[in-house]
Amino acid sequence: MMKSSIRAAMSFMIGFAVLAINSCDLFKEDMFPAYLGHEEARISLSELRQAAGVPETARLETIRTLEIPALNKGYVVLTFYGFFSPPYQVFLDGKSLAVLKTFTDVGNGRFLMYDAGTGILIRHFNDILVLEPESLELLDTKTGVFGYYVSNYFDDPWFGIRKDTNSIFLIGMHSGNVSYLKVNIDGSNNWTGASASQKDIFFTYPSSDAADFYIQDLYIAADSGVYLLLGQKESDRGYLFRWNTAEDFIGDLSEGSAPLVAPTTNNDYKPTYIQVPKGKDGSGYVCRAGYFRTYRDRTSVIERYRYDTAQASLIDSFSLPSNFQGRAAFFQNGDAWVLFDEGKQTLHLMRGWW
């Protein structure tokens, strides 16, 4: 009797296991955050604040990644803002999340740029600081690039891209519009911000649509292609534009008042583009491995899409805890990414799942 009972029970268990195997997604579920299986390094925000000297009153605002290919080095750059403290920018090691350097009074915007001939550029008040890429020591200060005057005021720069030895284009948001600011460099290496210009996307007439979009990401691929990711406000979609070269991109940006996409006199500049679904939090990321967005339906996931096709197509997804709250950032040419768990107040350096 006992043996038959055990036999029956075992049969049931085997049946249950077979059923479960058939739905493999069930096996991915863990009571614990599944992302921990991809963790490579971790730091709690309290540890980070202590090491970086950032007070509790300053709130984590942005998480950016920066790669220095020549040095095989990467940084995770966090920006903190608070009412009762100056803004902070903290550089973490991209392989260990160790706190390396903290800068204060970094000014508005998410501006971060690596210029191979110059160094790492960050904003400081209305200046641009030039940092040595490996040691993060201050090399130079370019004063007055962002002035208080209408001519060169630029409230939320994101990226920079060098056009030539005489100019750098900064792309960002200004007065709620997708805009750019040309920084002129003279023979004495003085940097001067020109006036910020709004950039229409699809049309100019009857009214500009620059205010309908916002910047999500910029990626310069190994084949020199430039990808600009714009989210459309009041919509669940975004647009991923591709120019074959930085020159095309800058040419398109600086082509007078013509929209980015609409045909003009020089169609060589014009990008190809695809629609992509926006993340639930409005975010989107583009890098070598694909287009990423956070999504929450029955579960919380990060979805990865192909973007080298006529339509963005889902490749795979990465499960997050159902009640997860936080943000991600991706190294554009590496396999690592960064995840901030807001509930646990921890920052994780993650291996790619692709």
Binding site: A9, A17, D30, M31
Partner: protein, 416 residues
């Protein structure tokens, strides 16, 4: 030593006295009255041979009396009644009705035959009355007188025959008269060595034990069509009381499998959130199948089946209490609820760049609920748990939810 049949009647009286079922064996018009044996006949007789002065006349009277009683017994037996005790009265009763009723009630026997025989040198006469001790009435009578010779014997037989027929005719319309079954009840059941008792094990009569799935119960002349209570009993199992609504019939009664009386249980299972692993559980029941303490140990890995993932190992030790919420301790479908407290040790193994680290998470479950389907010696269990993490380890403080939201689901088997 009690005769076997008397044994049955005692049982019948016990069952009737305990009032199991509507159909007590004996008369039931007025439950407060005496309960009577209706299939036995009490025989009282007296002989008056005082006119016979000689000893030979008295001997002749004895022979006629014995012949009359024997004739009555024989006819009653053929009619399906059991001639009971025969009591000799010293003198003919001055009030035969009172005498018969008194004796019948003393013996708890409804039918009382009272025969009075008078013998003299030239005359043999007899008077037989059949009394109903329950109702206190005369139901039939006969008397005859003849010469006390051999020619009297056929007359005695005829008189007894006529009397019994008259009595049977008189009671034929009596609805309180019950017919007794002539068959033994057949039983079957999936479990071996289950004892079947008429009534209860404590006070009833052992009907037999199921062997090779079948049993022919001990024959007892239960009344036909009346509900009969039986109890199935097996050592270490919960007894089950059944009521056969029509009493003993020619239909085989299937005894359902008895549920093992659980004082401890172990089990295996797994569930959402820990499918890459298993849970071993042990329950100890201070109150069998009612209240238990539980000890679970789960070992599992979290693994996302994606490139570059490493398994995240967990071991959970969980203790708790549980209570079955329904009345029946041997029900097949059972609902249980309880509380638990657990500690989960998690180990994130070292990788190329990561140093191994571990942490202890404390989980509190104010309420878990399980639904179980029980077989005699094992059960399927499904459990919902919604733990609250204290935030001491890898988990953030707050309620834990499955990836789709809501509670975690555990499924497993319990071995009793």
């Amino acid at each position: 030593m009690m005769s076997p049949k008397l044994h049955y009647y005692v049982l019948i009286l016990i069952i009737a006295a305990l009032g199991w079922g509507r159909g007590t064996l004996l008369a039931e018009e007025n439950p407060g009255e005496f309960q009577f044996d209706e299939r036995t006949v009490l025989m009282l007789w007296s002989q008056d041979s005082t006119e016979a002065s000689s000893g030979s006349a008295a001997g002749t009277a004895d022979q006629f009396s014995q012949y009359l009683l024997q004739s009555l017994r024989s006819i009653l037996t053929r009619a399906g009644y059991s001639p009971g005790e025969t009591i000799t009265l010293a003198l003919p009763s001055a009030n035969p009705l009172e005498t018969a009723i008194t004796k019948g009630q003393e013996q708890r026997i409804r039918w009382v035959f009272l025969a009075s025989i008078q013998v003299s040198e030239m005359n043999l006469s007899w008077n037989i009355g059949i009394y109903d001790a329950k109702r206190g009435s005369l139901r039939a009578s006969d008397n005859f007188s003849t010469f006390p010779g051999l020619s009297a014997l056929p007359a005695i037989d005829d008189s007894c025959q006529n009397l019994v027929q008259a009595w049977l005719g008189a009671i034929a319309q009596d609805v309180a008269i019950v017919n007794l079954t002539e068959n033994a009840q057949q039983f079957s059941g999936p479990q071996e060595d289950v004892e079947i008792w008429y009534g209860s094990k404590d006070t009833g009569v052992f009907a037999g034990m199921i062997k090779q799935g079948a049993l022919e119960g001990l024959y007892i002349p239960f009344p036909e069509g009346k509900p009969l209570t039986i109890e199935a009993w097996k050592e270490g199992y919960w007894p089950k009381t059944l009521v056969l609504p029509k009493g003993v019939t020619d239909q085989t009664v299937r005894i359902p499998a008895l549920q093992k009386r659980a004082s401890s249980v172990w089990g295996l299972g797994t569930g959402t959130g820990k499918l890459l692993g298993a849970t071993y559980l042990y329950r100890w029941y201070p109150v069998p199948d009612r209240f238990f303490l539980r000890f679970d140990n789960s070992l599992w890995a979290g693994y996302s089946f994606t490139p570059n993932a490493i398994p995240f190992w967990h071991d959970e030790l969980r203790i708790g209490v549980g209570l079955y919420l329904q009345n029946a301790v041997d029900g097949r479908l059972r609902l249980a609820a309880g509380s638990a407290l657990s500690g989960v040790i998690s180990v994130l193994p070292s990788s190329e760049k990561l140093v191994s680290r571990s942490a202890l998470d404390i989980l509190v479950e104010p309420l878990w609920v399980s639904l179980e389907y029980h077989f005699p010696r094992w059960a399927l269990t499904g459990e919902l748990r919604l733990p609250y993490a204290a935030g001491s380890g890898f988990l953030k403080q707050g309620w834990l939810e499955s990836s789709g939201g809501g509670p975690f689901f555990f499924m497993g088997v319990l071995i009793k």
